[in-house]
Symmetry: C2
Subunit: 417 residues, 2 copies
């Protein structure tokens, strides 16, 4: 194990997650109203009950003839019931006035209102029509082919529970009871900024050949967006303690959580945790997590908001963000991200790991014999994003291991599916 100078103890990943969730996991973003067509995929902020019956009236489920079922009870092919056609009930229109009397029927179309007095509908193909008369050649049970008023949804029925991800069929049900807006949890706002004199934004004019484009910030912003959050871009600040703490305070005021990138490993230029301590009573709750890559991960509180201090190297930042930040963001947004598909593979070679540290190996997969072979991508530093873009998946090696042996079976989380 490479001991990081200054990290006295590394906090296990699960403890880091628990500490964050215990402190901030119960908060729920307030509600906002969105138009129904924008509601799918959002999380309902209230229980919705219906103020109407669906169907709003007894409705025919087929094309045919509305009848009093008792009129058909003694009918047969040799002795069909002969009914007088009283008129037509079309979808969207009114049935003929007055209740159906004995011996009468009404032509009816799918979705149309069943006239008073009728209790069932005979399908058109089971009838014979001759001018103003309809003969029914078999008995119809009471209620046949009729959707009773309120059968689908009754007034007062809950049609959407609070806290559920809204699916297309919820949109359908909400529409059917006349809701054209829905109250949803607002998206949590995540303020993200980077620190480093060497950094320039991707959109800015090309820097000199010593500057580095800040690629971690747009990457983490994408991850936060995919977890159902809004991103407030805090830009880049130089290696100045005052600028860093100023940006932290500003983002903490306008966001629900703050993410800083860079300046967290313990060394000459590592200003972020110090800046956090300088402006916050509670300061830094932990700094240094037993995760590789991603060890120089810090967590603090600024103005009552969680502050995640991530290392600047893209892969370290990505792994730390996914392991420790996303569980909180997902709980806040209520939008679970699809879990990655997991496949079994055998390790192509031995990889030593340090007990007590959770390792995230990037691996390539290839078919080999009757299964998959996972080859770890050799990297010299966690700065190398290509270790992810060239990888097919991630193998997580837990804290209890000293490594994985060549040929041993591992679970690979697929990066693309």
């Amino acid at each position: 194990m490479r001991t990081m100078k200054g990290f006295k103890a590394l906090l296990p990943v699960d403890n880091a997650i628990s500490l964050v969730l215990d402190r901030f996991g119960d908060w729920i973003p307030g509600p906002e109203e969105v138009r129904l067509e924008s509601g799918c995929g959002r999380v309902s902020a209230e229980r919705v009950t219906s103020s109407v019956d669906i169907p709003p009236f007894d409705r025919s489920a087929v094309d045919g003839y509305a009848v009093r079922s008792e009129d058909t009870y003694s009918s047969s092919h040799s002795n069909p019931a002969e009914l007088a056609l009283k008129g037509t009930s079309e979808a969207g229109g009114a049935p003929p006035a007055g209740p159906l009397s004995r011996g009468e029927c009404v032509e009816i179309f799918t979705g149309a209102r069943v006239p008073d007095g009728a209790d069932s509908v005979v399908m058109a193909e089971d009838c014979e029509r001759l001018g103003g008369r309809v003969s029914v050649s078999k008995p119809v049970p009471r209620g046949a082919n009729v959707s009773i008023k309120g059968e689908d949804i009754r007034t007062g029925d809950a049609i959407l529970e609070c806290g559920r991800v809204i699916r297309p069929w919820h949109i359908g049900v909400l529409a059917s009871v006349g809701c054209n807006a829905v109250s949803v949890r607002r998206r949590p706002i995540i303020g993200i900024f980077s620190t480093g004199n060497e950094l320039v934004g991707v959109g800015s004019a090309a820097g000199n050949d010593l500057s580095i484009i800040d690629s971690t910030r747009p990457m983490l912003a994408s991850m936060a967006s995919a977890a159902g959050c809004k991103v407030k871009d805090g830009g880049i600040v130089g290696d100045s303690s005052a600028d860093i703490s100023g940006n932290m305070l500003e983002l903490a005021s306008s966001s629900d959580a703050v993410v800083s990138i860079g300046g967290t490993s313990v060394g000459g230029k590592d200003l972020v945790p110090e800046a956090a301590k300088s402006i916050s009573k509670e300061g830094v709750l932990f700094h240094g997590v037993a995760i590789k890559p991603g060890k120089p991960f810090g967590f603090g509180i600024v103005k009552g908001k969680p502050l995640f201090m991530l290392p600047g190297y893209p892969v370290s930042a990505m792994v730390g963000f996914e392991a420790i930040v996303l569980p909180l963001l997902r709980r806040w947004s209520g939008v679970g991200q699809a879990k990655r598909r997991v496949v079994k593979a055998r390790m192509a070679r031995r990889v030593p790991t340090t007990p007590g540290i959770r390792h995230y190996l990037r691996v390539r997969l290839e078919e080999a014999g009757r299964g998959l072979l996972a080859s770890p991508i050799t990297i010299t530093g966690s700065g190398l994003l290509s270790s992810i873009t060239r990888a097919d998946g991630i193998v997580v090696i837990g804290e209890d291991y000293e490594g994985v042996e060549e040929g041993s079976e591992v679970n690979v989380e697929l990066l693309e599916d």
Copy 2:
């Protein structure tokens, strides 16, 4: 089996899917350029290669001292190498001018440029600094702690292949090589309209008590959006053949596919397939699919665009849309939807099904003994959306079965996860 009047033969679901995909599955929507921060989740429309090396120069991966490794080869704790400190190289700044000579070192920080002449970096904790001199107490291998120029990405390397879903780490890599925009497949445009004199829009003033709110259209629009499409809302048209065909033509001109809702079962008021035939040379390719619910499903071609004619009942429309329309939309958009999680359960009671027809049962799940019990939701008509909102999952019964027996094991696709 309830035979639908007029459907001479029902097309098996798989044949319907193949026919649609064979005809339209090879088309790919044209490219559009989006800003990098909007690119995540979209599908790349071109292969992107890097025009720069990453890192753009030999870069230190740690805080420490840049050295000529050969100067340290004979060093030990008892006989450390003593090097003259020549200056400092900070991230974003230039190293001291001129190449490192024998016996010299440069203080260097993570991310900073390694000075010419140096080939490795000793970590700060492995050195002792005394004024202008640094003693190194163990040999450093050549290349240690240095990320070589181009090690991550070389000029000309592909950093994003065409046709891939863009992930957060692609955003990071694109940013790092200076791309602030990315070419992606444009979202396919799906025109959706409903037919029926009885329908009113959810947003409109309350209709009379005989009208029905059109809930299927917003539901299918949500499904299309979730599959990565844009929706062009064609509204509601009455039961007029001219209005229906007019709307079809208009949507076919402005969309990549047209979806009509309602008016597809074979009966007095079933105008949509007839309208399609009246305006299209190729007309209707199939009408009636061996799927339940969802049987009155039609497919045609208008102005060279696919026309999906769905039944008006919400659950029928939903099942048909998911089974037959979504495979095409997903292929077009390139965005696979997360597959539903599948669990095993035992059926709580026997459900008869019709051989030759694929059935989609909505079931509730409950814990029972050492497993899950699936109870089919009894419904009187496929109009009842509550059969979905009250369901925990879907059980698909294939065409080769005559039903499922009580107690038999089935796969349940979970609707919520």
